[in-house]
């Protein structure tokens, strides 16, 4: 059964909230300043403890190189290390790497590497509580990249500053993996792209650039000259583009957007995708959406109601939209032309679509628009419901964990002195063992589901920071990962796939490592332990033991001296590490069980070491082998 969702449409309520704050007016004002007075640069303005940084829409994108005309990898070339969140992180599965528009990225990097930019940013980070990056047109893309850079910085340092990016008529920036990454980092709420109903620029990159490159140059020339000059329309577009060409461009873009909207999530590689939240402004009001697919639909629907002229002019009409928007909500509108039902759901949708400029008198568009906002809302509502349900699910799986704890105590006290890890690894068919194995699988499933839901944005945005789940995942990891390792080596998967830590470790454990690392740490008391820990504090300890044992076997048969030294070094490092853990009592008693893998390792290593030490150092190993 579908979970119940809110019957109240609120995409417009959020837009009204945004409109009532000074954010739009302040940011747009500075955009105007930057367009006119800071061409090819940016302007900074402080309002209280907030800093506004506006990039001018008048920019030159160097498209001379092929790589700058379309998507380029975010973490390549000159951008390496700038967006730390994206470094090292591969997009999941067979997806594309994170990519953004090459020309825009290069433009941003030109700013980023200037002293002026670095200096101003440092000042803001030191002195302000929040920073609002903003920009009109191409300036919007620069603002997005700046915000992204600062968000990455915040994530990897202890810097605390609120970041918001408000763009006006900005082109799209990245591919689907990029959009997905923003979603997973829970940064959708840090980007608000204000889009006029018919503005061409935010839709431009839905179309392949090829046939109209020259005309686009003319269009940008027109837009940028209009932005830069104080008197509007000082430049006549007609002298640059004929009506036929404009109509052709409009038709082409509209067709491309429609195509994208019809294909849904299944897109060719190399497509641009919206990311973050969009605020669609019209003459009637505004709505805010954060669902990627709903945004694409809305971009299509609104353009479909435009015209060749409107789509060019709209890019310069943000003054009009921003200036009016607050007033629109202060007035009581008598909406006699909106079809109302007494159902909250229907009436809310009718109001939101009215604000989007879509009338119920156009049944086809209205139907599409309705589907679009309903779908977006349902996904959002489920997030809250699922978060609440997760607490209940967690308490349901807790007894499974208790059974495993019980099993551990049983193993650790057992006469065979194998300890927890080895008992499970060498278990014979028994009811107890298979029950634990089943619990293992169920717990793994539960946590995989949690991670899946979190990544697909179905849980609360700060879910991975809630103490409850951080602690629960940590104790799950410490208790269960040794068993996963045991199962891995028991079934000898390592012989096919390689060792556990590098090749067999489930993603969930890496995720939990990160949660645990990123948690807020209070004033922990650093008292030394008096007894061995309940659970070994390094959940990969047993995998390290297995690797070390493997090294010991290899040493024996290794002929190359260099490689042998590497192995010995590796073993000794582990030995020292393990000794440290034991001295600090950070391991559980099962490590020290007489017949545990660790005890075996120590014996084996002692023996091999003794043999190695019989020989003088640097003696050719090949000869040693012959002697044996």
């Amino acid at each position: 059964m579908e979970p119940e969702t809110s019957q109240f449409e609120s995409s417009e309520t959020l837009a009204a909230y945004l409109a009532s704050t000074p954010l739009l007016e302040e940011s747009w004002r500075l955009c105007g300043v930057a367009n006119a007075a800071a061409q090819q640069s940016f302007a900074v303005n402080r309002v209280g403890t907030a800093a506004y940084v506006a990039f001018s829409g008048v920019q030159v994108v160097d498209c001379s190189e092929e790589s700058c005309r379309g998507l380029a990898e975010l973490e390549g070339g000159a951008a390496k290390g700038v967006f730390s969140v994206f470094s090292g992180g591969r997009a999941e599965g067979d997806q594309e790497p994170f990519m953004v528009h090459g020309g825009l990225l290069r433009l941003f990097l030109n700013f980023y590497y200037t002293q002026n930019f670095q200096h101003k940013m440092l000042e803001i980070m030191n002195e302000c509580k929040s920073v609002i990056f903003t920009g009109h047109s191409l300036g919007g893309a620069l603002a997005s990249l700046s915000a992204l850079w600062l968000l990455s910085v915040i994530q990897t340092t202890s810097l605390s500053i609120e970041v918001l990016c408000i763009t006006y008529g900005s082109p799209m920036l990245g591919n689907k993996s990029f959009s997905q990454a923003i979603l997973q980092e829970r940064w959708c709420g840090n980007f608000c792209h204000v889009v006029g109903p018919h503005d061409l620029v935010p839709r431009l990159l839905f179309a392949p650039p090829s046939p109209f490159v020259e005309h686009f140059h003319a269009l940008f020339h027109f837009w940028q000259s209009s932005m830069a000059s104080s008197s509007p329309n000082s430049i006549q577009l007609d002298s640059l583009l004929s009506d036929e060409v404009k109509a052709e461009i409009f038709g082409n873009i509209l067709a491309c957007v429609e195509d994208r909207f019809r294909r849904g999530e299944n897109q060719e590689r190399g497509s641009f995708w919206p990311f973050g939240s969009y605020m669609f402004c019209t003459e009637n009001g505004a709505i805010c959406l954060d669902n990627r697919m709903a945004i694409v639909k809305m971009l299509y629907l609104m353009l479909a109601k435009g015209s060749a002229n409107a789509c060019v002019e709209d890019h310069l009409k943000y003054e009009n939209y921003v200036g009016r928007i607050c007033w629109q909500y202060l007035q009581r509108k008598s909406l006699t032309n909106v079809c109302f039902s007494e159902s909250s759901n229907e009436a809310g949708i009718a109001l939101a679509l009215h604000s989007s400029g879509i009338s119920f008198q156009e049944p086809v568009l209205y139907g599409v628009g309705k589907d679009c906002i309903v779908m977006a809302r349902q996904l959002g509502c489920r997030r809250n419901i699922y978060t609440a349900k997760m607490a209940v699910s967690l308490s349901k799986v807790t007894p499974l964990r208790a059974q495993i704890e019980w099993y551990k105590a049983f193993c650790d006290n057992s006469d065979d002195q194998l300890g927890y890890y080895d008992s499970f690894k060498r278990r014979t068919a028994s009811r107890k063992g298979s029950k634990v194995y089943m619990n293992l699988t169920r717990l793994g499933k539960f946590w995989d589901e949690v991670i899946h839901m979190l990544e697909t944005n179905q849980l609360a945005h700060d879910f991975h920071k809630l103490v409850k789940y951080v602690n629960a995942s940590q104790s799950y990891k410490l208790l269960v990962e040794p068993l996963e390792i045991a199962e891995y080596y028991r079934t000898e998967i390592h012989k096919k796939k390689g060792h556990y830590i590098e090749n067999g470790r489930e993603k969930r454990f890496r995720v939990f490592d990160k949660w645990w690392r990123d948690r807020k740490i209070g004033d922990e008391e650093g008292n030394p332990r008096s007894k061995f820990a309940g659970l070994t504090q390094d959940s990969c300890f047993w995998a390290r033991v297995e690797e070390a044992r493997d090294c010991v076997y290899c040493v024996v048969s290794e002929v190359d001296q260099g490689r042998e030294l590497v192995l010995v070094d590796k073993i000794e490092k582990f030995e020292a590490y393990a000794r440290g853990l034991i001295e600090r009592k950070e391991v559980s008693v099962d490590v020290l069980a007489k017949n545990s893998s660790y005890s075996l390792f120590r014996e084996e290593w002692k023996e091999v070491k003794a043999r190695l030490q019989l020989l003088p150092p640097r003696f050719p190993v090949a000869m040693v082998r012959e002697k044996f």
């Binding site: 918001l164 840090n190 202060l330 509108k333 909250s344 009436a347 308490s395 007894k531 820990a533």
Partner: protein
């Protein structure tokens, strides 16, 4: 509140309301307060202030935490979120309390067995509100006086955050606060605006609103720019709240809220909106009132002229005449009880249609009212679902009780038996412990998010069940904690690991029984023992004696079982290692067999 005359429904006679309005206007010319005795009623009316500094002491909103020694109930119990109050108004009230004869006069009214009414117009309202809360805390809560006071305000600004509404509803005091508001009166909305934005105009506007003044602002743009600021911020607060009511999940909402500070002030109590021409609309859902605070101000384009704006400001001074008409002649009262079903269309013919049109509510506004009603309904449904767990909880508790008894028969006590975890029965008890923890954690989670009705933490049956649960189960959580030596990973149980389900249930009891904080911490006895026994006696000498004294009290009260003294218990074994002199003088020596 289901229809009929206003007085019958809110518990105050029309005559009293009218009188209160009259004396609160009269009070403006008095320095501290004005007392009026009539029949069995004593009115305490407080004057307003027209100086900016009495409205806002700090930018942007001038709020502080309430003084918990004066207002111990103005908080959420489990979450321990303390109410926020406007500092300027609070200070004014404190001065009045300490520097005038107010409390003596109140005592006198009490000894005369009078019905007490605190009242105030404009910024006299906040003083009346705070005096009423003070009275409830000081007299009603301790059952010193059984006639609850009434608080009647007329055009009072908002002075407290959402905790006020939460706490007053929980204590069942909310219905004694009755706020009258003219539909367009700007004053109740002023504190929704950051002081920084209206600094320029506020002094002039206050002078203009002072009933004693003749300050004329005709033809000045001050009023409309002031109105614009106030409306805009009322829109901010109400649309932010509405986004929440409607379940908006866009993260942009929180990002914006973290950058643009919103006013903390929210309505509480019953609101009576006067819509003009003698008509009245009454409602008590604070979320819905907040929405009306904005939507009633919305104007149509034809109203956009200075004459209209001027008229809006004048409404602040017309309470007496308006109420005279509506209470005596019209009695056209609508009670907005069933918000979930308010009609959306202005052309509807249903019950509330006329009232909503009189308030001037657009469809958007009506949807917000519905959302507010829906949230309230949802909270009640949540409570129903939680209530259905009661039997399951009781059954599980019985099982643990049996476990406890069976352990005592073996002379070890269930704390230590559980800590050893040797038998199947220990394991079963552990599973029951985890099941119960799951149920209670869900309750706590909902309280944290304010997803249950405001009264939940004051419900006797749950406070009792919570105490029973805590006394029986917390020792097992502590045993589990120290069995796994989690104290060495994370720190002492009390500091680092005590689950909220025990903290909350303890606070419920302590609040209900008006105990000091920590007075009912009998369930953490074992955690204290575990920590103390790790340390050398000389270091913790005083703490040991203190624990023994407290344990004795708890044992005598029956809050703590004598099983803690069984021969094989962790406590007894440790106690026997204490120095002889200590044991000799110990107050629990008699309980421990040697």
């Amino acid at each position: 509140m289901m229809g009929g005359r206003l007085g019958e429904n809110i518990g105050v006679g029309e005559e009293t309301i009218e009188k209160a309005c009259k004396v609160s206007m009269k009070a403006h010319s008095k320095p501290n307060y004005y007392i009026h005795d009539k029949n069995r009623v004593t009115f305490f009316a407080f004057p307003g202030s027209w100086s900016v500094n009495d409205w806002c002491s700090r930018k942007p909103f001038g709020e502080i935490k309430v003084d918990v020694s004066l207002f111990p109930s103005i908080k959420s119990i489990g979450n321990e979120e303390i109410g926020l109050v406007n500092q300027a108004f609070f200070t004014r009230f404190q001065h009045l309390l300490t520097r005038s004869s107010l409390s003596a006069e109140v005592e006198k009214a009490i000894s005369d067995k009078k019905q007490i009414v605190f009242t105030g117009h404009s910024s006299g309202g906040p003083t009346a509100i705070l005096a009423t809360i003070w009275f409830f805390e000081k007299y009603t809560r301790h059952n010193y006086y059984n006639t609850p006071p009434f608080c009647l305000t007329f055009g009072s600004p908002l002075i407290g955050n959402h905790i006020f509404s939460h706490a007053l509803r929980r204590e069942n005091w909310a219905r004694y606060f009755i706020h009258f508001i003219m539909k367009h009166d700007i004053v109740p909305r002023i504190t929704l605006t950051p002081f920084t934005q209206i600094e320029q105009e506020l002094q002039q506007v206050l002078e203009f609103l002072d009933p004693k003044s003749t300050h004329n602002l005709h033809g000045s743009s001050i009023l409309s720019s002031f109105l614009f600021s106030v409306m805009r911020n009322a829109l901010s607060v109400s649309s932010y709240a509405a986004s929440y009511l409607k379940g908006n999940t866009n993260l942009l909402l929180e990002t914006v809220a973290s950058i643009v500070e919103l006013s903390p002030y929210r309505p509480f109590g019953i609101f009576v909106f006067c819509t003009g021409r003698g008509k009245i609309v009454v409602l008590d859902n604070p979320d819905a009132v907040l929405q009306l605070m904005f939507f009633c101000l919305q104007f149509s384009p034809e109203e956009e002229n200075s004459e209209f704006v001027h008229g809006m400001f004048r409404e602040h001074l017309s309470y007496e005449s308006e109420l005279h008409e509506s209470l005596n002649y019209m009695q056209d009262v609508t009670y907005l009880v069933n918000l979930v079903d308010v009609p959306l269309s202005a052309h509807s013919t249903s019950t509330y249609a006329a009232a909503l049109n009189d308030l001037g509510l657009s469809t958007t506004a009506r949807l917000c009212l519905r959302a507010a009603g829906e949230l309230e309904k949802q909270k009640l449904e949540n409570q129903k679902r939680i209530d259905s767990n009661k039997e399951t909880i009781k059954e599980a508790i019985t099982k643990i009780q049996e476990y406890k008894t069976s352990c005592e028969i073996r002379r070890i006590g269930y704390y230590d038996t559980f800590k050893i975890q040797k038998d199947q029965s220990d394991f079963n008890a552990n599973i029951k412990r985890l099941e119960l923890a799951g149920i209670w954690d869900e309750i706590v989670e909902m309280i944290k998010r304010y997803e249950l009705p405001d009264g939940f933490e004051g419900r006797k049956e749950w406070i009792e069940l919570g105490t029973l649960f805590r006394r029986l189960l917390e020792p097992l959580d502590i045993a589990n904690y120290y069995r796994h030596l989690k104290n060495e990973d994370t720190g002492p149980y009390m500091v680092k690991a005590r689950p909220k389900r025990y903290k909350f249930t303890q606070k419920w009891r302590e609040h209900a029984e008006k105990m000091e904080v920590g007075f009912s911490s009998e369930t953490t006895f074992w955690a204290e023992v575990e920590e103390l026994r790790l340390k050398p006696y000389v270091q913790v000498k005083d703490k040991v004696s203190r624990l023994e004294e407290r344990a004795l009290t708890w044992i005598n009260e029956g809050w703590l079982g004598k099983d803690v003294f069984l021969g094989e218990s962790t406590f007894s074994k440790w106690w026997k290692t204490l120095p002889f002199e200590h044991r000799l003088g110990s107050c629990v020596a008699g309980f421990i067999s040697t």
